[in-house]
Structures are given as C-alpha cells and as structure tokens.
C-alpha cells in the first residue's frame, strides 16, 4: 500500500504547479521525484507533508485519506534542503525534539539521540550548537532528527543540493546506506539525476507539473520517455529520424526503435570505427577527452577519446558506437502518463 497519490492538482492562482499527477510510493523503498526547478516536485512534496492544500485529487496512506490529517499527525518527517535546525537548541536537543514531543522518558531520548548521531557519523556532537557545524554536518543532524521517531514516510526536499560537489557525493552514498539500514520508506525530490541515482530505488520524472515517466531506476534509465527526459537524465545526445534508422542498422538491426539517446561515452574515437566524423571541439578532462563531433550520416554528437590520443579541431577521425551506452526512447504511444 504505502503512499498513493491520485489525480492531484495544485493551483496557485491561474497556474497549476501540479497538474493531475498520480503515483505510488511503495513501502520500504526510496522513491525519487526528479525534475527541473518549477516542475512542481517540491509542491508535490509539500502536499504530501500537509503543508499545501490540493485543489483537486486525493493523497492517502495505507488506504487512509490524508486530507483531514494535519501535518503534525501524519507521522511523516520532512527534511529541508538547508536542514532548518533550530538555531536556539544544541544538536542533541534538535535530534531529540520529535522524541520529546512524544513524551518519551529522558533516558530513552538520550540513548536514542546517541544512537542516531552514531548512525549519521556524528557521535559526540550532542552538545554542539548548529551555528558551529559545517553544511554537511548540519544536513546529517537534520537527517538524524527526521529519523528519530522512525517516520512511516521520510520526505526529503533536495537534501544535498546546498552542499558542494565532493561532500554531496559522499553524503549521497551515506544517505543510501543509512536509509537501507533503517529500512525507511522515503520520498526524495531533487533536480540532480546523480543524486537520485545514488540514493533512490525508484524514480519519477516530472516536467511542468506532470509526471513524464516513472519506474525502477533501471526502467527509467534504459528507456527514457522522450528526448527531454533523456537529456534531463544525463544523456548527452538524442538521435532521431533518418539518422536514428541509419544508426539502428549498424548497431542493432533486429530492433524497432526510431529514436535513441546516447551517453557521451557511447561515441568513442577508434581507428577501426564504422563511422567517420569531423572534430568540432575538444576539451581535456582527467578521465578522457570530451569531444563535439559531426558524425557523417548521424549529425552532431558528443563523444570521447582516450587522453593519450591527441585530437585537434577540424581533424577527421573514425568513431565506434558502444552499444550498451545508448538507450532507445519509448515509442510515442508508450509515452502517455502511467495510469494505475
């Protein structure tokens, strides 16, 4: 059962921030809602938390309609982008806050706070004030606070976006492990596909208030709904029309797709590659050379070359296609919204 959202619409004045959305968040898994800013994903999360009133539709948990249930009785916990720790209370009091709300005995609160701080890797931080913590530490404390009463659903609003890159990657891994260890059901909204892939089991892609696609990570990743979704999921190029058929002929003659998304690493410079291409631009990275290519018969595509191969702009090269780095898009009739 878990969380069910049916035909949900949220309007602010004339504009619909969320437009007729239906989706399920199954128990025991982490579901990520992925979308650019303005896609309505945060509004969706706020409706689930009970902070926003829907204009139409229904949100229920284990079959119970949540409309009449105020935020504080939903048994969820919401973790904000910037943690929103209470600045006037120390770390221990922040983490123990939901336990004290439920009148747990002081001894139990202390023990549980220590246990949670240990879980998020901040053992011994109980006396510190939030203002003295780094951004990453604050997010860890916010996570511990949100997990304190074992919420039946944990809501995460861009939990790592405010952090710098290295920290974000490390904390995403930690968050994945902590949520698994606690067996928490979670709904995560983010604009960063890497964050979604690192933390979630299931993914929902939103655009302009509507769900574009949902499914397991693998389903979404291997069959993007359309060119926009593919680019948003981190695919570097999309090939369609005649060019797509020409490419299909080469790499997968038995298939019937008509449009395909390619990761940058799908096009690789190699002496015996089947396609010829002109180098439009080249940029060095520690891992590889990133190229913009004009591939004969396929058009402009992103590609890579080994760093030890020198490539200059305007040079003619041969490229091969790495078949497991491309994802056929769903045919147009399969693109409609999933109706449960």
């Amino acid at each position: 059962m878990g969380l069910e959202i049916r035909d949900l619409t949220v309007r602010f004045g004339e504009t619909a921030a969320v437009d007729d959305v239906s989706l399920d968040v199954p128990t025991g898994a982490v579901t990520a809602v992925l979308g650019p800013s303005g896609s309505g994903k945060s509004t969706l999360l706020r409706v689930v938390a009970g902070l926003e009133t829907p204009s139409a539709g229904r949100v229920s948990y284990d079959g119970e309609d949540l409309a009449p249930v105020p935020t504080h009785r939903r048994g969820f916990a919401l973790m904000f982008q910037d943690g929103q720790l209470f600045g006037h209370a120390d770390v221990g009091r922040n983490v123990g806050y939901p336990l004290r709300l439920r009148h747990r005995p002081a001894g139990e609160v202390r023990a549980r706070v220590d246990e949670l701080l240990d879980l998020v890797g901040l053992a011994g931080y109980a006396e510190r004030m939030p203002a003295t913590l780094s951004g990453g530490e604050r997010q860890r404390v916010a996570l511990a606070r949100a997990l304190a009463v074992e919420p039946r659903l944990l809501l995460l609003d861009e939990p790592l976006s405010a952090l710098d890159r290295g920290l974000r990657e490390r904390l995403a891994g930690d968050l994945h492990d902590i949520l698994r260890a606690a067996g928490t059901t979670a709904l995560l909204v983010t604009h960063d596909h890497e964050e979604a892939f690192a933390i979630a089991d299931r993914m929902v892609v939103m655009r302009d208030g509507a769900v574009v696609q949902d499914g397991s990570l693998d389903e979404v990743w291997s069959r993007p709904a359309d060119a926009w979704a593919a680019r948003f999921l981190g695919y570097a190029s999309v090939v369609s029309g005649e060019a797509a058929l020409r490419l299909r002929e080469r790499v997968d003659p038995g298939a019937d797709w008509t449009e395909v998304a390619l990761r940058r690493s799908a096009i690789r410079v190699s002496e015996d590659g089947p396609f010829a291409a002109t180098v439009l631009a080249a940029r060095m990275t520690p891992e590889q050379l990133r190229l913009d290519l004009d591939v004969d018969g396929l058009g402009p595509l992103a590609g890579v070359a080994e760093t030890n191969r020198s490539v200059s702009v305007g040079e003619r090269v041969h490229v091969s296609v790495v078949t497991d780095r491309l994802a056929p898009l769903r045919p147009a009739d399969g693109r409609s919204r999933r109706t449960p």
């Binding site: 916990a77 806050y97 709300l101 304190a148």
Partner: protein, 542 residues
Amino acid sequence: MPRRTGAVVLAAIPLAVLVVFFLYPVAGMLDRGLRPDGHLDLGGVLDVLTRPRVHRVLWFTVWSAGLATALAVLLGVPVAFVLHRLRFRGQGLLRAVVVLPFVLPTVVVGVAFRQLIAQGGLLGGLDLDGTPVAILGALVFFNVGVVVRTVGALWEGLDHRAEEAAAALGATPRQVFTTVTLPALLPGIVSAASVVFLFCSTAFGVVLTLGGLRYANVETEIYLLTTQELDLTSAAALSILQLLVITVLLAGSHRARRGAVPHAHTAAARRPRRGDAGLVLLTAAVVGFLLTPMVSLVVASLRDQGGWSLQHYRDLQGDGEGNALLVTATTGLTHSLLVAVQAASFALLLGVLVAFLVSRRPRSPGAERLRALFDGVFMLPLGVSAVTLGFGFLITLDRPPLDLRTSPLLVPIAQAMVALPLVVRTVAPVLSSIDPRQREAAASLGAGPLRVLRDVDLPLAWRSLLAATGFAFAVSLGEFGATSFLARDDHPTLPVVIFRLISHPGEANFGMATAASVVLAVATTSVMLLVERLRVSSVGAF
C-alpha cells in the same frame, strides 16, 4: 479548511476590540459633527474649511510638520549610520538617548522647552518665547529618534557586500553611498519621513504647551473647538480632513516599507575611522541637542529661590499652590503606573495577536490583500487624533450596553489603542523574519500548532515581546492626548497633573511641574533603558 477558519477566529478578536474601542468612538465623534441636529449638514462642514482661521491653522500644521520632518531626516540619517553601522563603547547608551524622546511624555517636553526659552532659562536671551522655533525644536526633538531607529534597523541589516562590490568596480566612497547604499535605504527613509510627518502634524501636547494662543495646529484646534467653543461641526470637519490625509500617508508609508529588505544579514559593524569624524561630531551635536532640554529641566527642578533645593520634589506630596490639583501629585504617579500596567497588558495581548496574523505569508493574492488591509487598519490609531479618540470615547461609551464613563478601565483601554500599533510594529518584523520552514519542519516532526508556537516562535520572539511590553508601558505612562479627556479630576495620571500645574499660575506650581516631569521622565527612561538592553532593533522603527 481548518487553518483558514482558525485565522478568521483569531482575527475577529482584535478586530472586534478595534471596532468597539476605536472605530466606533471616532465614528461617533464624526457623526456628532456631521449631523448636529439629526440630519446630514455637509454645507456646514465645507463652510468650516473656508474660514481664514482654519486656513491659518492648516498652513501652520503643514509647514511646521514639513520643516520638522525635513530636519529630523537630515539629522537622523547620519546619526543612524554612526549608531548602527559603527561600533564603539557607550553606543548602547547613545541609542537609548536617541529613542528616549519618543516615549517622553509630550507635556514633559513642553515643560522642558518652555523652561529652556523662558526668561532666566538657558536660551532665555534669544527671546524665542512665543515664536514657532520652540515648537519646531520640540517636534524635531521627538522624532529624530524615529528616523534613526527606522533607517538604522534597515542599515544594520544591509548586506555590505553590495557596497564592497561597487567599490571593487571603482566607485568612490561617495559614489558607493549615492548609487548603492542610499537606494537601499530609501524605502526606510521614505517610510520614516511619512511617519514623522504624521506625528508632527498630529502633535498635541507640545503645541498646546508651547503654542499658546498664537500657534495652533489641526490637533490643538480640534481640542479648542470641542472643549472651549463646543463647535463640534468644525471639529468634525477638521477630524475628517486629518483622517483622509493620514490614511494616504499610512498607505504611502506601507508601500515604502514593502520595498525594504527585511533584516537579511547582521553585517559586522566597524570601528570609527578618521573619515567618520564629521558624522561622529554631528551625532554628538544631535545627542547634545536631545540632552539639553532634559538637563535644563532637571536643573530647574532642583532650583528654588536662587538656591539648590529639593523643595519642588517635596511639594509633590501636596496638591499644589492654590489647590491646583484635587489629589496629590504622588497619587497621580501611583495611578499612572497602575494604568500603564493595565494598558500595556491589554496592548500586548491584542498586539501579539495582530502581529501573529500580519506576519503570516498567505499564498493566494486574495488572502494577501486581506492581510495587508488588516495590517493597515491596525496602524490607524498611530495617526488618528488622540483628541478625536478621547472625545469619541466620551460621547459614545456613555450609554448601555457600553457605559464606561465611570469605569476605571476607560483610560487604560484608550491608551492601549494608542500603544497597539507600536506593539505590532515591534513584534511583527521579528515574527516575519522567522523562516516559515522552521515551523514546517517542527510540524512535520509531530509538533501541533501550539507546540510550534512554543518551540519555534517563542524562543526567537520573546525578546521582542518583552521589548514591546516595555515600550507600550512607557508610551502609556506618557500618553496625554486621549487621557486629558478621559481621566477624571480625582483620578488623574501624572501627565494630566503636570498639565494642570503649568496651566495654573504660580512659581511653585511651575516648579512642581518640573519636578513631576523629571519623575515621569526618569520612569519612562528606566523602562526604555531596560528595553534597549534587549537589543530588539524593531523598537521605535516603522
């Protein structure tokens, strides 16, 4: 939608009080003037506005208030910089000195300035008695602090990285000020100026005590017309005119305030540099100007028959030369304190409710318009003539079901209405500055609405609540306009006692008035010093 119902119920309480104890009395007063014999007489009202005396009064009101406002802004902005953007020892005391005049009882200031310019006073030689200079000086004296606080609070919160960015792009300090700082401060300056103009054009106590028979503004004219000449039609006409002008001003000030960036940062203040010398000197001069009447008042209260003496203070236990008072001055003081406690509690209770409601940020445009209207309505008592309010109380709350003529709560209620906007203006900015997501985080962790108030709002707002209480208490101690109508002769407050003393002839009565003024000033000053220690920058800011 339970949340919206809750807001409506909460809003109903202060609204009901405002209607019964503010709008109804004011409307009653206007009605009495507009329909003298039961039917509408607009001709009479328009006729009033053509009288030469009324023209003289209007012209004096406008130019004295305009000039005083300009002076207050010119002096206040540099002082705001020195007291809020620099950091030095003794700054807290100076800030208290600057905000103090605002809560000083108007009669006390009147007495102080009269003493200053009288024969034998410090400025006696300048022969200013009977000129408008004293009135102007007193108006500036009162309102410099309003400009300093309003602009200073904004200045303190300005992110100075914008100034640094401009400097890095090659702007000279002067260009930085005119192109970055001043535009950012402008909403605060406009807001302060409109409020100051409002205060100056409705000033009552100082004009009454200093203007004598020659100079009257709209407010004192309303007083004269109602109490001396019993010409209610003329009084009502002037009240309506005043109400219209004030509504426009309040709307303008509200609009200006909307552009002000709320306290985003607390930028690090810096130590004074050599280049600040001019501004520091100006600040010293302003502080000197503010202290002079006070010091001279204290000196006068201690001088009797050419020598130092505590005689005037001892006299406070009596009822004045020629029985000027019905009760002793000390009784008046006791009564003042009691009334102030009642008025402050009442204003705090209502003000916190209003501040709570106006600090919410509704999403729908309709609800936002309602919120803004609600906010504006509770600012009205700032500008409506306290005289109109006091007289309105007398003529409307005198029959069942609301016969309060003899109720000891009449004065506290009227004073609470006067203090209410100040409480709202002190508390609301603090509540608005709380990130709503703090409340949402607490709610999502299981805290109910009351628990959220206790755990999120209260820890961040308790200082402002205390400060607002103190502020309301101090304002109530000094309130004169409405109280002068409502306080019964056998139950006067100290400002009423002082006014009585200076209206009666006799050296001893004037000496007693100076002593009583010092006592009253010390009381309000002590309260304001405590308030200042709370470091709530919204106190006295608009």
